[in-house]
Symmetry: C2
Subunit: 276 residues, 2 copies
Amino acid sequence: MKIAVVGLGIIGGSYCKAIKAYTPHTVIGVNRTKSVAEKALADGAVDVIGTPESLGEADMIIFCMYPQACVDFIKENGKFIRSDAIVTDAAGIKTALCPQLKSLSEEFGFTFVGSHPMAGKEKNGFGASDENLFMGASFIITPCGADKKAVNALASLALEIGFGTIKVTTPEEHDRMIAFTSQLPHVLACAYVLSPSCPNHKGFSAGSYRDVSRVANINSKLWSELFLENREPLMAELETLNENMNKLYTAIKAENRDELAALLERGHSVKQALGE
Amino acid sequence: MKIAVVGLGIIGGSYCKAIKAYTPHTVIGVNRTKSVAEKALADGAVDVIGTPESLGEADMIIFCMYPQACVDFIKENGKFIRSDAIVTDAAGIKTALCPQLKSLSEEFGFTFVGSHPMAGKEKNGFGASDENLFMGASFIITPCGADKKAVNALASLALEIGFGTIKVTTPEEHDRMIAFTSQLPHVLACAYVLSPSCPNHKGFSAGSYRDVSRVANINSKLWSELFLENREPLMAELETLNENMNKLYTAIKAENRDELAALLERGHSVKQALGE
């Protein structure tokens, strides 16, 4: 296959490098800033630098851009995409995005399959990309009506480049779960490091601090877009967390040791039941 | 030196193993449950199994028990401790504990230096102990009036067995900082996994979920004691976090993208300024 990757940031760059490292496919790299595409070419991450017009050569296209930028790009350049091409995105939200991309796929005649690679780092840009970023990670597919053949082609590529799990689901379930597994920890991390104690943590901290604060090193532009595009599920998770934090706070304030231990034990049990 | 370690759980067991692995000192292991002490002996983690009465042989004693159990043990057995012995604890709270241990040291004539090894795992017991648990970690000392010689002896041992940083401070500063760096993440982790979404996270989760939820696998008895013994600083951190979470929630609810991005950017800046 000829695979075009549009947007050579950490995710797009990692797709390119992983496809080059682990498959025989040809990679066409497309990026707005030319110097980044040239770096990708020099690094051997792509076989050729593409343009919107050259997308017609691609059998599969992976869009690794901000959600709204992806829609805008396809609106303008969808006419260059072949009707037998499989197109996917890499966005962390699905309900707000997939119907728009599905509708564009019908307008231009290509096949759209939504997907979300569950991997990342607390760094951005092509420089942070890594051929092993996806190793063992989960690859979530939201077929959005695409046929089995297209879904399987995408799933096969994901497994080839190192993903460990394929999860097929609806945009709505994806967004509810991602609100909990990914967005909530990012909100939490930012709120956590805003404590006046944070700048003085060194010498007093270990793994707990490191782990909770890690993703506070956030791309604020990307994540504010992701949070607002998934506002309802995220608000629901924030409300649930707030209720549970209040229960713990109340037990600590009241010095109610039994209630406090019971709440902590419930947390412990959830992890134990998951075998974690 | 002959060093006695009282309480052979994960922390006490790791002290024994690290002292045996990295120093020429002799280790006397004392544990209420005899089978654990026998396991430690069989593993070569201790040179000899001790009793409260045999503490008189020790030049240094490290108490690795629950805070209140430590006070009770010394009240009963302090008479066996030599007056030239250096005694330390390993407790995660200091303001509520150190004055009691200091007062017992004056009663029985030994030297007390408070300390807190900033290391652990989300597992308990001797089976989870590890000679490399302390590698690179911070060792916090609260001298509580002990002379320089005793503080230096303890600091030297800490560096010998792998700690990377020595931090000397007061019990009060220790407790304020630990409320933020360690206790708050533990409360958070428990509250987080109580979401109804948690049992279904598999396939939808990656590093963010793993990191925030990790310490929810908590020893509920130990941590409820630690939280209540450090109630005021912990409540202050919970209130600060709650305020910052509310600011983020409000910005998301109001779809105020600029305010949301500004709050996330503040989090990002804190981490950047720390070089993390």
